[in-house]
Point group: C2
Chain length 466, copies 2
C-alpha cells in the first residue's frame, strides 16, 4: 500500500500533505491510470492518521480530476493525458506602461490632467464619509444599467441650468468615461454603420472606432465645421462632432451649420449625430452656445459629456443623453450590462451636484482657467515671441491656437522644444493628411501648465524659432 | 435703426438682453439674411448704452453664427437655413429601468447582490479618508491604461497567495467590470474570430459577444466541461469558460480536461482560452483548484477575475491577466484607452488588499456563506421537500443544484413560485436548446437569501410541487 512520511509537513495540514504526495505520484506515474487506491479506512490505518484526513485529501484529488470514484467500488487514478508542451520564448514586455502619467516636462501643453490643488478634496471627503455612514444599503443595491436615479436627476438639473437642455433622467446613461460610451453607442446604433469623425480631430475617437473594426470616415472641415457635402459623399450614417468647441481648431460651429447638420440627419432614418460637448463648461467669454441637442426636434442627436474635465481626469464618470426613441432601444438591446461606475462614486457625485458644490466648483475653475489663459496671453504679448505670433480661438474651452511666423519645419521645431522641456503639438498632427496651409499652427492647451512656468515656457518657444 | 426697450430686463444683463432681442429679430426674419447691422458705436449711442455692451452682444451673436463680420465693413445678419422639421410622435420609454435593483421577492435565489451588513464599511471609510488627506497628487495623476501600479502589485500578490499563480504586475489590466474587459478582449484578439461559450452557460457572456456582432459559438458540455470535439467541429478560436466553477451546472473541470483544452489551444496560433474565475474565492470545501492559467506554459490563457463577487456587486473593479506576449500587443493596439476605474477606488482597493483586509474579508465571507449554505441544506433536509430533492455540486462557489422529483413542467412551477414570492431559475433556462434530461433541476444561488427566510422559502418550494 502507498506510504508517505509525515515528518516534513512545513506549513501544510495533514490532508494537504497527503493530497500533494498522491498527486505527485500520479503526475510521476508512480500511480498509473486506472489503478485502484486503498480505501479511506485502510489508508488511514496504514498511515496512522484519521479517516477524515484521507477523506479530505481524496475529495481534493477528485475535485481536481486526479482521482475518480465509483460507487461501492472505491477510488481510482484518473487518466491524465499529459500533453507534451514546449515553452516558447517569452516576449519581453517592452512598451508596457507601468508608471503613471507624471509629466516630466517643464511645461506640457498637451496634457488634460487636472491639478490636485483644485480638486475639492475636503467636500468630496465629507460627502463620502456621510454616504458610507448613512447610505449603506443604497450603496450596495445594484443600480439600473443607466446609473443611479439621483445622479441622473442631478445631471438633468445641471443640463437645464447650464445648457438650457430639457432632458428627463431616463434619457441619461452613466458610464465610466466617454470612451466606454462610444463602445456602447456602437452596440446601440450598429457595427455596420459608417461613422464620421472630424478631420482634423481628436485622434482617440477614430482610434476607438477603428479598434472596434467599424468603418470610420474622416470628414473634412471648413471654417464652420464639418462639410455637409463631404458627409453625403462619404455616406456617413453617424457623425461624431464637437460643435461647441472643436478640438484642435477651436471652431465654434455657427447656428446655420448646426441647422444644416440637423437637416442632413433628418434625411435618413438611420442617421444620427453624436454631440461631444467635452469642455463646454469652460467657455470663458460670452454665454455658452446652445447645444445641437437643444434645437433637435427630430430625435437625431445623442449628447455626450464628461466630468473628467470639470472634476478630475482620474474620476471616470461620463454620461450620454439619448433621444427618447433610442432609450427604448437601449434598454431592450443592452439591458444586461451593469453600470460601469461604482455606486460609491455615483452617489458622491449626485450629492456634489445637487447640493450646489458642482456649480461653485465650475465657477471657481472657470475663473482659475480664465486667469491662466490671460496670464499666458500676457506672457506671449510681453515676449519677443509676440512679433511672430498670432492667437486665435481663445474664447472657448481650455486651449487656443498659436500661429507662428517661422522657417523651421514644424516637426523640427517641436523636437527642439521637447529637448528644452516643452511639450507642444501642432495642428497638422491632427489631420489625416495635413493640408499645406496648416503649417506653423500650434495648440496651446494651458490647463496643466502652471502660471509660474509660463514666461519661461514662452521664452523657450521663442528661442526654438531660430 | 433697430431699437429695443431695456425696461423689462428681468435677471438678464444688458448685453444678454440686447443679444436676445437681435437674435429674436433674426429668427423672426425682422432682420434679413445679409442685412447690415448698425456699427457698435452708433447702436450704443442710439440705445443709450455702452459700446462694450453692444460689443458683447455682437460677439455672442457671432459666436453662435447669427451674425458674421467682415473686416472694415461691419456686421451682417447670417443666412439661417431654417429647416422645416416635423415633430415625430415621441415614443414613450416603457421598458426603461429607472428604479434600482431592490428585490421585491421574499427570497430571490437568482440575485448576485451582496448584503450591506457584510461590506467592510468602516475600513473602507478609513482608507478613503487617509487617501483623500495624504495622497492627493497620486489621486489626480493619470494612471497607465492598465491601472495603477500599487493595485496591480496587490493583485499579483493576492494571486500568488490564493491561487498559486505567478504573475507580474504588467500582465494585469484593471477594468470597470468583467463585461467591459470582454469588450477590450474583442479588440485585442480580433472581431473576426469565432468565440466559443459554454452551453449551458451564463447568458450575459454570449449577449456581450452577440451585441458586438462577433460570431458566437455555443459549445456543448459533458460532465467534465466543454467537449473538445465540439470546439473543433465549430471552428472555435477563442474559448470563454469558467473551469473552476461552471455556471450554472457547478462543474469543476478535472485536470485531464484542462490539459486537453490547453492542447487544443496549442494547436493553432490564434487560439486562446479566456478563464473566467468569477467566484473561486468562495470554494467552500478543500483547497481551490489550480487555475488553467497556472498550468499554461504556452501563453494561451487569459485569466479574468472580479471584485464584484468578493467585495460588492456595486463596486465595479475587475481585472485580467494577459499572457506576456499579449501584453505587448495590448499596449501597442489599445494604449490610447484610459483606465475605466477611478483612481480613488483603485487606491482604496490597493490598500485594502495590501494591508491584509481583503484576506480577512474573504475568510469572513467564506465562513458566512458556508454557514448560509449549511443552513439552507439543513432546511431542505428537515423539510418534507427532502423526500423529493437531490443536491449536487454544493462545494464550490455560491450556488448548488437542486433536482426535484415532480410532475409539473418547470415553467409552470417557477411561475407558481414567483406568485408566492420565490425567484428561482431552472437549469434548462441556461441552455440554447435544453436537452430532455435537464428537467426539474434548479439553481440555488443562496448569496442574497437571508437565513431567516430559508425555512419558509423551502416550505413554499415544497408546496408549489403539487
Amino acid at each position: 500500500m502507498i506510504t508517505y512520511s509525515f515528518t516534513n509537513l512545513g506549513s501544510d495540514s495533514l490532508y494537504i500533505h497527503l493530497y500533494k504526495c498522491i498527486k505527485n505520484d500520479i503526475l510521476q506515474e508512480v500511480l498509473h491510470a486506472g489503478e485502484k487506491l486503498p480505501s479511506k479506512r485502510s489508508l488511514a490505518k496504514n498511515l496512522n492518521i484519521s479517516v477524515i484526513t484521507v477523506e479530505n485529501a481524496y475529495a481534493q484529488l477528485i475535485a481536481e480530476g486526479y482521482v475518480y470514484s465509483i460507487a461501492k467500488k472505491g477510488y481510482f487514478v484518473a487518466d491524465i493525458k499529459t500533453i507534451t508542451q514546449k515553452r516558447e520564448p517569452v516576449l519581453s514586455a517592452e512598451n508596457v506602461q507601468l508608471s503613471s502619467g507624471k509629466s516630466n516636462y517643464f511645461a506640457d501643453f498637451t496634457s488634460n490632467q487636472t491639478s490636485s490643488a483644485h480638486f475639492p478634496f475636503s467636500i468630496w471627503a465629507k460627502l463620502t464619509r456621510e454616504l458610507l455612514t448613512n447610505n449603506q444599503p443604497e450603496l450596495l443595491t445594484n443600480p439600473p444599467c443607466g446609473g443611479i436615479l439621483p445622479l441622473r436627476e442631478a445631471i438633468a438639473g445641471h443640463l437645464k441650468a447650464f445648457r438650457n437642455m430639457t432632458v428627463s433622467p431616463e434619457q441619461i446613461i452613466i458610464g465610466a468615461g466617454t470612451e466606454y460610451l462610444y463602445g456602447l453607442l456602437l452596440q446601440l446604433l450598429g457595427f455596420e454603420k459608417h461613422y464620421g469623425v472630424e478631420d482634423p480631430g481628436y485622434h482617440k475617437i477614430s482610434q476607438i472606432y477603428e479598434s472596434h473594426c467599424v468603418s470610420c470616415r474622416f470628414v473634412s472641415m471648413d471654417t464652420y465645421g464639418v462639410k455637409i457635402s463631404d458627409l453625403e459623399k462619404q455616406n456617413v450614417d453617424v457623425l461624431h462632432i464637437s460643435p461647441s468647441h472643436h478640438f484642435p481648431t477651436g471652431i465654434v460651429m455657427p447656428i446655420s451649420r448646426r441647422y444644416e447638420l440637423l437637416g442632413w440627419a433628418a434625411k435618413s432614418e438611420g442617421r444620427y449625430i453624436i454631440e461631444d460637448d467635452y469642455d463646454s463648461e469652460y467657455r470663458l467669454n460670452g454665454q455658452p452656445i446652445p447645444t445641437l441637442q437643444s434645437i433637435d426636434i427630430q430625435e437625431k442627436v445623442i449628447y455626450i459629456n464628461t466630468f473628467t474635465k470639470t472634476l478630475a481626469s482620474t474620476v471616470r464618470i461620463s454620461y450620454m443623453v439619448l433621444p427618447k426613441h433610442l432609450v427604448n432601444t437601449f434598454y431592450s438591446k443592452l439591458y444586461f450590462y451593469s453600470c460601469t461606475v461604482s455606486n460609491f462614486e455615483q452617489y458622491t457625485l449626485a450629492h456634489f451636484i445637487s447640493e450646489g458644490y458642482f456649480e461653485k466648483h465650475i465657477n471657481r475653475m472657470r475663473n482659475y482657467y480664465h486667469g491662466k489663459r490671460d496670464h499666458l496671453l500676457h506672457a506671449i504679448k510681453n515676449s519677443p515671441l509676440a512679433a511672430y505670433a498670432t492667437i486665435s480661438e481663445e474664447d472657448a474651452g481650455l486651449h487656443f491656437l498659436l500661429t507662428l511666423k517661422m522657417n523651421l519645419p514644424d516637426e523640427e521645431f517641436l523636437q527642439k522644444l521637447e529637448q528644452s522641456g516643452i511639450k507642444l503639438s501642432s495642428l497638422s498632427q491632427y489631420y489625416r493628411v495635413p493640408p499645406e496651409d496648416v503649417n506653423h499652427i500650434f495648440i496651446m492647451n494651458y490647463s496643466f501648465v502652471s502660471e509660474e512656468t509660463m514666461e519661461k515656457a514662452i521664452e523657450l518657444i521663442y528661442r526654438a524659432l531660430f
